[in-house]
């Protein structure tokens, strides 16, 4: 029943040309090659993808381990970064 557990891999699939790879889930595999094959069998049985990335979950660094720090705060008070902040005078087009 026991045995050392194989590492966790995060799986990203590009559904079609022109789209970016999207996270679809994770799986266990002893190495990258098997992770790719397992990902193909697990996440693309119905032609859901044209390209797969597998990334060791341990290699991912996340922005905020407890999702509750001030990491994203600096963006909150800069509404002038959005085009909707600006008033456009009547009659101006192509702007």
């Amino acid at each position: 029943m026991t045995g050392q557990s194989s590492p966790l891999w995060e799986v990203f699939v590009r559904a079609r040309r022109g789209l970016s790879h999207t996270h679809v889930g994770s799986l266990h595999a002893p190495d990258a090659e098997l992770a790719l094959r397992n990902a193909r069998d697990l996440y693309t049985r119905r032609q859901e993808g044209v390209s797969i990335w597998v990334v060791p979950a341990s290699a991912i660094t996340a922005s905020s381990p407890d999702e509750k720090d001030a990491f994203f705060d600096p963006a909150a008070d800069k509404v002038y970064r959005h085009p909707t902040f600006y008033e456009v005078p009547d009659g101006v087009s192509h702007l």
Binding site: S5, S6, L27, H28, D31, R46, S64, D66, K68
Partner: protein, 354 residues
């Protein structure tokens, strides 16, 4: 119509159930875009934040704070669901080598492979809650966690494969479609995937029964016999009646569960009656009749004492299923060891070369 909080489009692809899965998927995207509730402020009460997110129909994600009981309930539910998918491969796997044609065999193989896939999506979702795959596998193998009692019934004839697809997968879908709206993000996303694939399972079962029911007298009798045996165990899949269900109220409040056991069971019965008519098969319930007042069918409850016996380990196939799973896991040990040794050897070579 299976939900009371949304209306699936009339011309939803694949009819009601698939349409609902798509509606749930759209709702998930829409809720994510709607209220962009960011991370809680450093001094905000995490519990209030959790309640806020649930109330706003937003999703709780793996690293959000959550009550310990919410985490435990989800681990238990998702794990039991995953175990059910894995054990559920056995009754049908029993017929792969004896399927009546190459086409049926290829389809059944694909279906059993899907069940394995569903188990893996769900194990992955459970792991985001901080439990490891090895722990989950051990919990199943030494009997500390359960799987759905339905898989402790035997598949005696080929028609059973049809009855499982129609009734067992049908009941599973009715149970699972609302889970696509579960408050825990990874579970909801896994369920959307699972439900889309389950729809193929249900239809293939229905087609098997339809073919048999329109074949020879003997084939029709075999189909009827399968429906007779699988009907009540399928009704029991929805769990004990609402009065006796221990986990329901809290799960409803947390939006893990959206409808009660009895509501879902009723929905399933109402769905099956018309489908059985088209098959030309009889649902084995002499008291099944339309109730004009309730706008639903009255039906005979399954034997809950039997359900409890099977859950406690005394169904027709409990021991066989567990023994098979334990043996399969033990027999696969050398493969896992060989793959790990190969990976270690390659990693070492790479380190030396670098």
């Amino acid at each position: 119509m299976y939900g009371n909080d949304f209306a699936p489009p009339e011309d939803a692809p694949g009819g009601g159930l698939l349409g609902e899965v798509e509606a749930a998927e759209a709702a998930l995207r829409e809720a994510a875009a709607r209220a962009r509730r960011g991370a809680p402020a450093p001094d905000e009460d995490v519990e209030a934040y959790f309640t806020d997110v649930i109330d706003a129909d937003q999703k709780i994600e793996p690293r959000d704070w959550m009550p310990e009981a919410y985490r435990k309930t989800l681990i238990r539910q998702i794990a039991q669901h995953a175990h059910s998918e894995i054990i559920g491969m056995q009754p049908e796997g029993n017929w792969i080598s004896r399927a009546p044609s190459l086409k049926r065999k290829a389809i059944l193989l694909a279906k059993v492979q899907d069940e394995a896939g569903h188990g893996l999506y769900l194990y992955a979702a459970a792991e985001t809650l901080g439990i490891s795959r090895d722990e989950l596998v051990d919990l199943l193998l030494d009997g500390r966690q359960k799987y759905s009692s339905i898989f402790n019934y035997p598949t005696l004839t080929w028609a059973d494969v049809g009855a499982i697809g129609w009734l067992v997968d049908g009941a599973a879908i009715v149970n699972q479609v609302p889970l696509c709206r579960c408050s825990y993000g990874p579970y909801a996303r896994a369920m959307i995937r699972v439900c889309k694939e389950e729809s193929f399972h249900q239809r293939q079962g229905y087609e098997i029964l339809h073919t048999l029911a329109h074949g020879t007298e003997a084939q029709k009798a075999m189909a009827q016999d399968a429906v007779d045996r699988w009907w009540y165990p399928s009704l029991a899949m929805f769990g004990p009646p609402d009065g006796d269900s221990t986990h329901s109220a809290q799960s409803m409040a947390w939006k893990i569960k959206r409808f009660s056991n009895d509501e879902l069971r009723q929905r399933f019965v109402d769905m099956c009656v018309g489908q059985a008519e088209v098959l030309g098969l009889r649902i084995p319930d002499p008291d099944l009749r339309w109730n004009e007042e309730r706008q639903a069918y009255d039906y005979t409850q399954p034997d809950y004492a039997e359900l409890m016996r099977v859950i406690k380990g005394n169904g027709p196939c409990n021991r066989e299923r567990m023994t098979h799973r334990q043996r399969a896991h033990a027999d696969g040990a050398w493969v896992r060891e060989a793959a790990a040794a190969y990976a270690a050897k390659r990693a070492e070579r790479k380190a030396v070369a670098a």
